[in-house]
């Protein structure tokens, strides 16, 4: 354990996991708050509590599920490809989804159901990223989970503010996901013999994947039209009392 703490690789991995957790923390907290908005006051607190609890539980189960799946041969390949896509998606400007026919839940069970389904969908990228970065190290895995839990429970504008100030974070994050995907790819049984022969591939594959994510992300982003960034929500005039008289 102490030996682990003194190795550089360990701290690099810790850093990777924190960045991945931050960038892929998802919008769980926002969904939880919004899903419970239309509940009666008495149920709202309960809804939030169940929602947060369920989300944390789900995240833990999914993480260990992902880890055991990734230990199977060739599934690392699939995981790596998914991660590459997640990296590209991070760089792409956000798509405006058409308004679906989603009705606001007004009872507790419905709200909790919404939260859990949303958590499931939004946790997948985070879980995969952390599992890949932890690379089988249980301590790192648990650490990654612990870091992500406050991010589930408390909505934070921190990430938004950081990206607003330093937009390059998005590209760094995309490149990091590509790098981690490359490491996973290199770890797959398929390439074992190849890698043993060519040691340079140990860093060449991750670096290549990081570059791939950046190039594809930039390319796809350039094809999209610039979106309107500011939305007007409400406009109202209040006349002075003198005008009325």
């Amino acid at each position: 354990m102490l030996e682990m703490l003194s190795s550089t690789q360990f701290w690099v991995d810790v850093f990777k996991i924190i960045v991945i957790d931050l960038l892929l923390s998802g919008d769980n907290a926002v969904v939880i708050a919004l899903a419970c908005r239309n509940l009666p006051d008495a149920q709202r607190k309960k809804g939030i509590m169940y929602g947060v609890g369920g989300a944390i539980g789900l995240r833990i189960v999914l993480t260990f599920f992902a880890v055991s799946l990734l230990s199977l041969p060739y599934l690392k390949l699939v995981g790596a490809l998914l991660l590459l896509w997640i990296g590209v998606k991070l760089i792409l400007p956000e798509e405006e989804h058409g308004e679906g026919n989603i009705k606001a839940e007004t009872h507790l069970l419905g709200a909790v159901k919404t939260i859990i389904i949303a958590d499931f969908v939004m946790s997948l990228d985070n879980v995969l990223g952390v599992a890949a970065a932890a690379n089988g190290n249980t301590f790192l895995l648990v650490f990654g989970l612990l870091i992500s839990i406050p991010l589930i429970a408390w909505s934070s504008q921190l990430v938004l503010k950081l990206i607003d100030r330093f937009p390059v974070i998005i590209y760094a994050g995309g490149a990091l996901l590509g790098y981690v995907a490359g490491e996973m790819l290199a770890g797959d049984a398929l390439f074992k013999t190849l890698l043993e022969a060519q040691h340079v591939l140990h860093w060449l594959i991750p670096a290549g994947c990081a570059l791939l994510v950046l190039v594809v992300g930039r390319w796809l982003a350039a094809r999209k039209t610039a979106k309107a960034r500011v939305i007007d929500l409400l406009d109202e005039q209040v006349p002075s009392p003198h005008d009325k008289s």
Binding site: V31, A33, E99, R165, V238
Partner: protein, 143 residues
Amino acid sequence: MTMKILIPVDGSAGANRAVEYVIRNVGWLKEAPQVCLLNVQWKLASGNVKLFINQETINDYYREQGAFALAEARAKLDSAGLAYSYHISIGAPAEAIVQYAQEQQVDQIVMSAHGQDKLSNLLLGSVASKVTHLASVPVLLIK
């Protein structure tokens, strides 16, 4: 010709001081100025959230948060008897403020030098400093 003053507010004490400043110094102007209050909400609900929550609920949430941030500034203007308009935008604060100032062709932006969050001001720079860089009209910073 009345002067049009934009006061961006986030509900913080500093922002409300900016409102007080304008009220206090109304006498400097020949005619009562046209005051525009603006609150900007971070776009918290991204594409993923919209898959699960309908737009109406999301907008209600922004509206509630915005109204809350605007409440004290509005009360001050109400009791001073000044006419004003108020507005809630969604986006990155500095960009939204500058864009609104352009759209409304305001003559001046009066805002607090320090916003809500002291720590992120320190680490990331304040909204005010970004507005002073981007805006094409004079920006008056209130300490």
